[in-house]
């Protein structure tokens, strides 16, 4: 009898273990929850707005009893979304957008959502338009800018009230700053994405300026080599590389460029050890967190022109874009939630948490200290505005581009070889 009981207990335990193992293996219970509500997932990689987004979601969930939205944050969102698409488990709404997903029909066409487009700045609508199809697969709620953030006091001490507009003037200014014992330009090159951004804003900026953002995007999408000319030894890419190597050789950028991190950069900037850094608006919150009094000293400028037929450029691009999965069963509910999220009062809250201006015409948010807002406005009005390149080859990321710059700064490539390597990597990345 005892043996039988032992056997039964063993059997029960084995059964319990086996059942436990498979508990998590079933298809996720997406769609209608146990309480009869439609359950939606908002997938995001934006850490800075988690709390404010949760507040808005809570308000939305409390405002009605048919839909329940949950926010899912992933640090490495661009990689995680790839796995989700591969597993056919795409979230209903997502803030990650890639050209290859648009080309693969993963996003719902939002072109007909007039209630959003009528409120959006026209240039931001253009930025949200897929150049291949002319349709909109995402709505951006914010704009962002990238350029040089500089310490106004340091520049003034070497005789500059205004940021230089050409590379030669820029070089002269950096030399004067160096003579004062201050690192002129801090590049945190251990983080490849940052170096990738330099390419995105400077040589790609030149191409976008030369052909216009839309035509440049088309050229990138079609890999129009006559227009892109990445490998040209006298082209924008090689000249950018020559200038960067010159600045490094002359000690006009930080010595530890290949091992420095963004935290090092922020610390050196707020401590007055460096005069400037290149970055997007998102760096403002880190700078102010490191030194709440720094805001009044910060200046913002466009990238100086470095090719003969070029003007200073500044990134003025879309940010916080929302897409709806083409495969979600609850498109109507997704739109209902986005209608709520895009309300002016919610967007004001979101912009102030994100530290980024709104893309909607009817949202008035205090997203940064007044002096910075004014400077950003001046710079965007007086220089050539460029957008992001979403039309990059699927197999050649901004991170990959940054690693080529690391090799350049490490002396592995000459500027000409760098340009050729960049062209080869771009071509290889195209399927």
């Amino acid at each position: 009898m005892k043996k039988h009981i032992k056997g039964l207990v063993s059997l029960a335990l084995c059964g319990a273990m086996a059942t436990g193992m498979f508990t998590g293996c079933g298809a996720s219970a997406k769609g209608k929850g146990s309480n009869g509500k439609v359950e939606l997932t908002l997938f995001t990689g934006k850490i800075e707005t988690i709390d404010s987004m949760n507040d808005i979601i809570d308000d939305f969930n409390a405002s009605q009893d048919r839909i329940k939205v949950t926010q899912e944050y992933q640090k490495d969102a661009s990689s995680v979304i790839k796995v989700k698409f591969a597993a056919n488990e795409a979230p209903d709404i997502m803030t990650t957008y890639e050209q290859e997903y648009a080309d693969s029909g993963k996003y719902m066409d939002l072109s007909g959502q007039k209630q959003w487009w009528d409120r959006l700045n026209p240039e931001m609508k253009d930025m949200c338009t897929d150049v291949g199809t002319g349709k909109q697969y995402r709505v951006c709620t914010n704009t962002t800018n990238a350029g040089f953030f500089y310490n106004k006091e340091i520049l003034k001490s070497v005789g500059y009230d205004k940021f230089p507009e050409t590379y030669d003037e820029f070089h002269d200014m950096l030399t004067k700053i160096k003579d004062k014992g201050i690192t002129p330009w801090f590049i945190f090159g251990s983080e490849a994405w940052h170096l990738g951004h330099l390419i995105e804003f400077i040589p790609h900026g030149y191409i976008k300026q030369k052909y216009g953002t839309i035509d440049a995007k088309k050229a990138m999408l079609d890999n129009d080599k006559d227009k892109l000319q990445y490998g040209d030894p006298n082209g924008a890419m090689a000249t950018f590389a020559k200038n960067l190597v010159q600045l490094k050789d002359e000690g006009l950028i930080n010595k530890d460029v290949l091992t420095a991190t963004s935290d090092n950069c922020v610390q050196d900037f707020v401590n007055g050890k460096t005069a400037m850094l290149s970055n997007g608006m998102w760096v403002l919150s880190s700078l102010q967190e490191a030194d709440p009094k720094i805001a009044s000293k910060i200046g913002f400028a466009a990238y100086p022109s470095y090719m003969e037929d070029m003007k200073p450029v500044v990134l003025n691009a879309e940010d916080s874009g929302y897409c709806i999965s083409a495969n979600t069963k609850h498109k109507k509910e997704c739109i209902e939630f986005l209608n709520y999220l895009f309300k002016a009062k919610n967007q004001k809250k979101y912009c102030e948490a994100a530290g980024s201006p709104s893309a909607f015409k009817d949202v008035d948010a205090k997203w940064a200290p007044e002096n910075i807002v004014k400077q950003v406005k001046d710079v965007t009005e007086n220089s050539v505005n460029i957008g992001y390149t979403n039309e990059k080859p699927a197999g050649f990321s901004g991170d990959d581009a940054g690693r080529l710059v690391q090799n350049l700064l490490d002396g592995q490539y000459s500027p000409e070889k760098f340009a050729k390597e960049y062209e080869d990597a771009w071509n290889a990345g195209i399927k």
Partner: protein
């Protein structure tokens, strides 16, 4: 009665077999199948035969990563065994504070290699790290070597950090082997006139055969599949100079070359299998068959 017991025991092993099948055999078979396709994670996979494997031999970056991985593994596996054995011999002798020393040696092994990489980065970072500041205080900052500056120095740093972290684990295996050697053998060797070196060569080493084999095999496998310590200490940089094959596989997988990345994973499997088989053959003892 006996057959009933075997039936029940076999049944109790089912969850383990299911787990093994589900999380090892199934992904392995799926991976082998995928390595013959051009799957990018988005579009339906198409069979491409051996193309991915042929492409690998024309992929400069992948071939460079093989060299990086092999250099790291050669240095790391060798040093781990040497240092682990020295530690084990020390811990097998009698001295005060042995337990504390053993704990200090083993402790790095229980810390995540990712965290370990970041800690060493903060220690060794040029111009800013703890070691640099210590040397600056002593007025010797000019002597601070840029450990993360060139391929050679970065590789050396990676190997030393890996050895520092895992030597404790190697030591434990050697220590178990040493403690299983009967004391009588040493006593009789000494009676026969053997000195310390001869005892080590003719008694200790032959009887440590199993431990040596375990350590060589596990260290080769661990070093050739290195990922996290490189990822956190150098990110594979500068450029792709210190990128290991495991990191390359991950980057290709997320870079829309999922089919190709699984083919490279199969090649890595063979790269690991060959030295493991050779070392098992070389360390085979009489009676093993």
């Amino acid at each position: 009665m006996r057959s009933k017991k075997i039936g029940l025991h076999t049944f109790m092993a089912v969850p383990a077999f299911v787990l093994y099948g589900l999380f090892f055999i199934y992904p392995l078979c799926k991976g082998i199948g995928m390595s013959f396709t051009n799957w990018d994670g988005l579009h339906p996979a198409q069979f491409v035969g051996l193309q991915n494997f042929l492409d690998f031999f024309h992929d400069k970056r992948a071939l460079h990563d093989v060299i990086t991985t092999v250099v790291f593994a050669a240095g790391s596996a060798t040093l781990l065994n040497v240092v682990g054995l020295i530690y084990a011999l020390l811990m097998n002798s009698k001295f005060k504070g042995k337990s504390f020393a053993r704990m200090c040696i083993y402790m790095p092994a229980i810390i995540s290699p990712l965290i370990m990489g970041y800690i060493w980065y903060l220690l060794l970072q040029p111009q800013r790290g703890f070691v640099y500041h210590m040397m600056l205080r002593m007025g010797k900052e000019a002597m601070f070597p840029n450990w993360l500056g060139s391929f050679g120095s970065v590789m050396l740093t990676l190997v030393l950090v890996n050895v520092w972290q895992y030597a404790g684990m190697t030591m434990v295996v050697y220590l178990a082997g040493l403690q299983s050697i009967p004391v009588e053998l040493y006593e009789s060797a000494k009676i026969d006139g053997a000195n310390g070196r001869q005892c080590f060569k003719y008694v200790t080493m032959p009887l440590l055969g199993t431990s040596i084999r375990i350590n060589i095999v596990t260290n080769i496998i661990g070093s050739l599949s290195v990922f996290d310590i490189i990822m956190s200490l150098t990110g594979g940089g500068p450029g792709y100079q210190t990128e290991s094959l495991s990191i390359y596989i991950m980057r290709m997988c997320y870079g829309s070359k999922t089919g190709y990345s699984t083919a490279v994973a199969m090649i890595l499997f063979i790269i690991i299998l060959v030295p493991v088989l050779i070392s098992m053959r070389l360390t085979r003892q009489k009676g093993d068959d």
